[in-house]
């Protein structure tokens, strides 16, 4: 009660007329971060955008060929490729499956972790941290070994159980390969969700839960109307992070499907950009793909954040 009464006085300074020198102080405080961002983010993006308007390959980079300004030709070329749209669609579907998968697994295990005793919880966290700290390349190869056609443990166990999985190739079919890679991506990205959501659930004050149970709320009711709204900001962070990570998956697809699957049917946007543009040293086209991806991710994130602000009670 005391805090509520004090609240107006806490917000009061914001309404006071600004003192002289505040702006300069603010600028000084922001300068280190600003300089870092400008050098590490703004300048590369500026160069990326610039290069995307030129015919820019290795001869141009080495200064042996004249620069030709193309305007939006790289973009027109990209958007007119049927394969680009196919790959974009697959990327969205693949990323969506990975995001939903890691959120469900991560949140589910976070709830579990908040209910069990400390020893099983510690084991769960150790296992999750192990998955989290495995480098993407190592993780991909371990999964490939496990699911190997001839020598993989999974096929051995499944066919041992009498299922028709002898010499089954997990990476051949389009859906099968995407499913396998998605499982690996979820495996290495759910720990982030788990840790975040566990912190969120633990952050819900006991008094509130106690009050709810005194009022006769069921567990289900408490979860939906008390816990979830309180952890929503964290859930949002986890979702946006997962969207950004999973949309940009490269290593797992590149390693596990041998560079995009049979006839390129498991390509995602990042691998496509690498194969079409950077490996062939067509930096102009590659930059255009980079710009398109950046815009897509920014707009997805922006839309999501806005939707969150507008409808505070979507859950």
């Amino acid at each position: 009660m005391v805090t509520v009464q004090e609240a107006p006085s806490v917000t009061a300074p914001a309404r006071r007329p600004r003192r002289k020198g505040d702006g300069r102080a603010a600028a000084l405080y922001l300068a280190p971060a600003g300089i870092l961002l400008a050098a590490l983010l703004a300048y590369p993006i500026y160069q990326l955008v610039l290069i995307s308007f030129y015919d820019y390959g290795q001869p141009q980079a080495a200064g042996n060929a004249p620069l030709v300004f193309l305007g939006f030709a790289n973009y027109a070329d990209l958007l007119s490729q049927a394969q680009f749209w196919t790959v974009l669609g697959k990327t969205v579907g693949f990323a969506a499956a990975c995001v939903v998968g890691s959120l469900v697994v991560g949140t589910g295990l976070a709830v579990l972790a908040s209910r069990v005793r400390s020893l099983p919880r510690m084991l769960l966290f150790l296992a999750a941290l192990g998955a989290w700290s495995t480098p993407a390349i190592a993780g991909s190869y371990v999964w490939l070994f496990l699911f190997d056609t001839d020598f993989g443990l999974v096929n051995e166990v499944l066919s041992g159980l009498g299922l028709p999985f002898e010499h089954h190739s997990w990476t051949f079919g389009t859906l099968g390969a995407f499913g396998l890679v998605a499982a690996e991506v979820i495996w290495c990205s759910f720990p982030f969700v788990l840790v975040t959501m566990y912190a969120g659930i633990k952050g819900v004050p006991d008094e509130v839960l106690e009050a709810a149970s005194l009022d006769g709320a069921s567990t289900w009711r408490t979860t939906w109307t008390i816990v979830l709204p309180m952890v929503r900001p964290l859930l949002m962070i986890a979702t946006v992070q997962s969207i950004i990570w999973d949309f940009k998956v490269f290593t797992q697809i590149y390693v596990m499907t041998n560079g995009g699957g049979v006839a390129g049917r498991n390509l995602v946007l990042n691998v496509y950009a690498y194969q079409q543009a950077f490996a062939g040293q067509e930096y102009g086209l590659g930059s255009a793909i980079g710009v398109v991806m950046t815009l897509l991710l920014l707009s997805v994130t922006g839309l999501y954040v806005r939707a969150q602000r507008r409808s505070a009670a979507w859950l």
Partner: protein
Amino acid sequence: MRLLPLVAGLALLAGCAPTQSTPAGSGADDQTGTVRVWLFDEANRAPKEAAVKDAITEFKAAHQGVEVDVQWVPVEGRADKFSGAFNDPANAPDVAEFGNTDVSSYAATGALADLTGDLAAWPEGKDLIPTVLDTAKSGGQTYGLPWYTGVRALYYRTDVFTELGLKPPATLAELTEDARRIRAAKPDLYGIAVGGKYTYAMLPFLWANGGELARDNGGKWTSTIAGDQAKAGVTQYADLLKDDICPPAQCANLTGTQSVTAFAGGKAGMTIGGDFNRKAVERGAVQGKYAVVPIPGTTAGSIAPAFAGGNLLGVFKASKHRSLALQFVELLGGAKYQEKMYAAMGNLPTLSSVQQKLAANDPFLKPFVDTLKAGTKFVPATPAWSKIDSQNVLPTAVQQIATGGKDPAAALADAAAAMNKAFG
């Protein structure tokens, strides 16, 4: 106020261009100092390093006040390393080893020295096999000394062939038939281990059927991959990737190395492998149970034209020690060290006299030398080839045909369109 960043951005865009480095200068011809050399790192480098060390000792004895500094470049990371050298000529080496399929794209950066005249004046130059020397050319100029060459031939299991009463295939059609019979009799084996990503195994089929990758109309290339003969060749190769020979679920995505590994591990009746794969096969389960013949053509007694792979030694244009660099290249690429490199790494020499001498002593080399003698072919000598290669244009077509995703005509029409786009 809101428009300000936009206006500023547009002004910046209009006023600036992406950064470029200054083109490589013509370098200098210092007679002392350090000659910097880039050579490819390899899985088992020690013998290569020993041979190169001998060459350096000999070179330093002949040149007072000269040091040779060798850096080992990983093959997979070569693109970044060479891009760096092209963008910053001051940090480029004097001498570098590189693959002959990269010549055209490297030459387009203007960073390599034209060695046409130097190789013509080199006494041993006349001994270089002409088709191999052609692989070092771009736009009519020679940018490297062919250090060694690599051609592929047909490896087959002698025990399996004897058991099934088969003879080494005399035509490509027989090859397919033998492969099918092997798999039918021994379902654990691939009839032949080849893969959708093994372009250099596919090319002999394409060429033997009279097809070509592309045609050069005076510097302007056009793809001919969708032609009838090329289509027959690619289809004949893709037909090996079937359940009754090499099932697509396992083979559609195999690369060359993986195909040879499968054969070496005793999982295939045949494979297409290079002279450079000998050690890998010898170390495998099939040691002493295999033999090699040239890949047959379409008619009995003919040999399918093989792809002439290989590595070159080139000199950078910005080198400050041009003649020293050239002399080192000529020493390392000369008869004496080609022979030493053969002994060390099994690399097939590019000088015909050395080749003949070695083939007379080592029967293993005969099928490869026969293949070279029958005539080899090369990929289009244009910078666009690197792009076509990295975009997986041909593997995609082969995989589409093999898996039935597209019929041959449609898959190859797509491939031709992609190639023509890369040619510009």
